[in-house]
């Protein structure tokens, strides 16, 4: 019996994907769960694996658009690899396909002139011939050099979404700073014990996530979003953690942070980081966030204004910890300081709440005992 390979559901809002890469060629022998091809969607790249061991027949080519649950190939079960690329197998498959009468070819074959011209316009309005810039006699003439690379689906979506956020929200940012001494002291005191006990390192993130959860509880608007004329308050604190990878920025979501321990947070974050590096983050990992934390500090940023992740209404920006002279009790002392930024949608969150939210986080981090008492 042939086993069909279907496009897996990659998430609620995703109905279409593009074949980004074919890993196993048509007619090759594959083991069960072996990677066959990679799909690219608006949100994430997803690897499709073999549902069965056998000879693979693929019905798609690179750059082809496919729909969710569309059959994109099949596996003829076989226990041992037949001769690689065995021709008979391939021919068999083709005959099977024809029997079905309805071919799986989805893209129109006949392209009338009008349609051709229309499509050309839509797809490539500009393979523009740039006239070389007239040479300015004072400045050396710039010869256009470099290359053009087609944007990936992910990049296009990012670009589109970011501009959309700017255009559709009343976004602004408030700042504060936090003295990290207390958190750093707990970390250095507890890190060995913590790692021994839970098998993960005690990082900063667990403090921030817990502090945010505490603040979200105190300021529920920050965990809410606008839907038409209504404000939807989220009961759970699903906090997205922005992770930068070669393929772009991913924001996996830590679910129900209000009930997560430090150890649970650290171990989940570690799993996400690993998945992100391997490119195996699934769309389910990315959905349902109610608030986001991004850390520009890992790249050395001292201060930045993050952009909202819609439909969420706020995002916290962490930054680099830097020793700075600060005044404490009338004395100038050197403290490990971090600037915090909270970008928020002013349509739903007032300045008072936004500032209060950030101050709440600051206080939790400067006096971690507060976390114990308030969460």
């Amino acid at each position: 019996m042939k086993v069909e390979i279907k496009v897996p559901a990659v998430g609620e809002s995703v109905t279409e994907a593009t074949v980004a890469r074919i890993i196993k060629q048509n007619g090759s022998f594959v083991e069960k769960n072996e990677e066959i091809l990679e799909l690219e969607t608006d949100k994430v790249n997803q690897v499709v694996t073999a549902p069965e061991k056998g000879v693979l027949s693929l019905l798609v080519t690179v750059d082809q658009k496919v729909k969710i649950s569309e059959v994109i190939g099949s596996i003829e079960p076989a226990s041992i690899p037949s001769k690689p690329q065995s021709a008979p197998a391939a021919v068999e498959v083709k005959k099977e396909e024809v029997k079905k009468e309805v071919s799986f070819v989805k893209e129109a074959i006949r392209i009338p002139t009008e349609q051709y011209l229309k499509e050309q316009k839509k797809e490539e309005p500009a393979k523009k011939m740039e006239a070389p810039l007239p040479c300015d006699k004072k400045a050396p003439c710039q010869t256009p050099s470099g290359k053009r690379v087609r944007m990936s689906g992910l990049r296009r979506t990012i670009a589109q979404k970011l501009v959309e956020v700017k255009n559709t929200t009343a976004m602004l940012t408030t700042f504060n700073e936090v003295d990290m001494s207390a958190v750093m002291k707990i970390r250095s005191d507890q890190k060995d014990q913590f790692e021994k006990k839970f098998g993960v390192k005690l990082g900063f993130l667990s403090f921030f996530v817990t502090a945010c959860s505490s603040a979200l509880k105190a300021f529920p608007e920050v965990n809410a979003y606008i839907e038409k004329d209504e404000i939807v308050y989220n009961d759970s604190h699903h906090i997205g953690i922005a992770v930068s990878t070669e393929k772009g920025l991913f924001v996996p979501v830590l679910r129900d942070c209000q009930s997560l321990s430090f150890a649970q947070i650290e171990s989940e974050v570690m799993v996400f980081a690993k998945k992100a590096r391997e490119g195996s983050i699934g769309i389910a990992d990315l959905q349902g966030g109610t608030f986001t934390i991004t850390n520009g500090g890992v790249f050395g940023s001292l201060l930045s204004t993050p952009i909202l992740n819609p439909p969420q209404s706020a995002i916290l920006g962490m930054h680099k910890i830097q020793e700075r002279p600060v005044a404490v009790g009338g004395q100038v002392v050197i403290r490990p300081m971090m600037y915090l930024a909270l970008s928020y949608d002013h349509r739903i969150i007032d300045g008072k709440e936004a500032v209060g939210f950030l101050v709440h986080i600051k206080e939790c981090l400067e006096n971690p005992s507060k976390l114990l008492l308030e969460s």
Partner: protein, 469 residues
């Protein structure tokens, strides 16, 4: 004696013209079990037997004669007692056809396409009955490709007898050169066959209903072409509506309405080349729900599927230009589709060639079409007079015209009147298929001295200026 006949196939192609036989071979190469039905004994359809190939053979023969008679002296070559033998010309033509007939049979064998001779008629959507001299036989297939082509359209009041009132088919096998020939319809077929007999000594008069010859051509090409043909002695009556025709004695009398007046034309032979109509006789398409439009064209979707989706149709029986290479590409694409591969047939990229002297060739949009589509364009026209190779050849008539989109100089159409235009046009097709701009083309090397430099210069005129003009 009973012979068990293998009568079940993945695909049966009906018609072995350039669309059908190519589709059959391609499908077989893609692993399908294929048969191809053809009612005539020779394979190859209209194109090979009564179309492209024989007409080109005669065009070549008549051109050699005409060139020797009129042009050779330009090169300092003169003849005494120059003559030709029409019978030999026809024999040579027939030899070419026969060798290709056998060639296709060989290709069928090589690719294991089963050849069935007889008339096909559908019993159900997966069953056809083939009527042969020996009787009837039923064949089954999961899919069919209809590729039965087209036939010349006669004038309603003047049916073909293929002696005096001839179609293109008759014109390809006349036994003597008529003194006077009327050609009704100055389309591609008309001017090609009219040229053949004009070169061999006929007085050829065209009666064309429209206001210009070869109306699908760009207007400038059409006008320029007409002037060149007139210099060769062909006579054209445009906006001439043929209203009556009858055989009179050993000739034909044709009445045409020109400028509101009826004019009478007499000739030995009248070639009626007013178009071709799709040929689906005897297939019983209505039985299997395959719909045709009012003109008889089989209606297909964007996958060549007829209204009965397991049955596909290609070539002259569906819409689009009636050209062998159009049918071929469609045949290949339809076979690919049935084998589960994707394919593309872009109708804008179909070149069209008139094999007269000089040749005329075109691809893409005419200036008028581009304007009608609301596209801002730039056009250029480079004459072969300014091309060194054309001068060496003493074939200086004609030009290369390019239609390009203003915004990015993308080439949308190329129209060539001139020596070997049919060969030159391929460069334009490749450029257009690859979405090149006139600037891309003008910065491409072209060997010197060649005719193709005229294309380069014409492309330069779009972006900036030609060098040699």
């Amino acid at each position: 004696m009973s012979v068990s006949v293998d009568n079940k196939f993945d695909l049966i192609v009906i018609g072995a013209g350039p669309g059908g036989y190519v589709a059959a071979i391609k499908a077989a190469q893609l692993g399908l079990k294929v048969a191809c039905v053809e009612k005539y004994q020779p394979l190859g359809g209209t194109c090979l037997n009564v179309g492209c190939i024989p007409s080109k053979a005669l065009l070549q023969s008549s051109e050699v004669y005409s060139f020797t008679k009129h042009q050779a002296q330009i090169h300092g070559i003169t003849f005494k007692d120059l003559s030709f033998d029409l019978k030999k010309m026809m024999e040579r033509k027939q030899q070419i056809i026969s060798s290709f007939n056998q060639g296709i049979e060989g290709l069928f064998k090589k690719n294991k396409v089963v050849r069935i001779q007889g008339r096909a008629s559908f019993i159900s959507k997966d069953e056809i009955e083939i009527t042969t001299l020996a009787g009837k036989q039923t064949y089954f297939a999961k899919n069919f490709i209809l590729a039965t082509g087209s036939k010349p359209t006669p004038l309603p009041f003047l049916p073909f007898d293929e002696k005096q009132v001839i179609s293109s088919t008759g014109a390809l096998s006349l036994t003597e050169v008529p003194k006077k020939m009327i050609v009704v319809g100055a389309g591609v077929i008309g001017v090609e066959l009219g040229s053949v007999y004009s070169r061999l000594g006929s007085e050829v008069i065209f009666l064309e209903f429209l206001d210009r010859i070869c109306p699908t051509l760009d207007e400038a090409a059409s006008k320029g072409f007409q002037k060149i043909l007139e210099k060769q002695g062909l006579k054209f009556h445009l906006k001439a509506k043929v209203v009556k025709g009858e055989r009179s004695g050993s000739g034909v009398e044709i009445h045409a309405e020109i400028d509101g007046k009826i004019e009478k034309f007499f000739s030995d032979v009248a070639l009626v080349a007013i178009g071709r109509k799709p040929y689906t006789e005897g297939l019983e398409l209505e039985k299997i729900g395959v719909k045709q439009d009012a003109k008889g064209f089989v209606i297909v979707d964007s996958f060549f599927r007829t209204s009965n989706p397991s049955i596909l149709a290609i070539g002259d029986i569906i819409d689009g230009p009636m050209l062998a290479h159009k049918a071929e590409e469609e045949g290949i694409a339809a076979a690919e589709y049935l084998a589960g591969h994707s394919a593309k047939v872009e109708y804008m990229m179909i070149p069209n060639v008139v094999y007269t002297t000089p040749e005329v060739a075109a691809v893409g949009l005419t200036e008028q079409q581009a304007k009608d589509l609301g596209i801002q364009i730039k056009t250029s026209m480079f004459p072969f007079k300014a091309n060194s190779r054309a001068r060496c050849m003493a074939e200086e008539e004609g030009f290369v015209k390019i239609v390009a989109r203003s915004e990015d100089l993308r080439i949308l159409g190329v129209h060539i009147v001139g020596p070997h235009a049919g060969e030159l046009i391929s460069e334009a097709v490749v450029a257009m298929q690859n979405k090149m701009s006139a600037k891309d083309l003008s910065s491409t090397f072209h060997a010197h001295p060649t005719l193709s430099e005229a294309i380069k210069e014409s492309a330069m005129m779009i972006g900036s200026k030609a060098i040699h003009l």
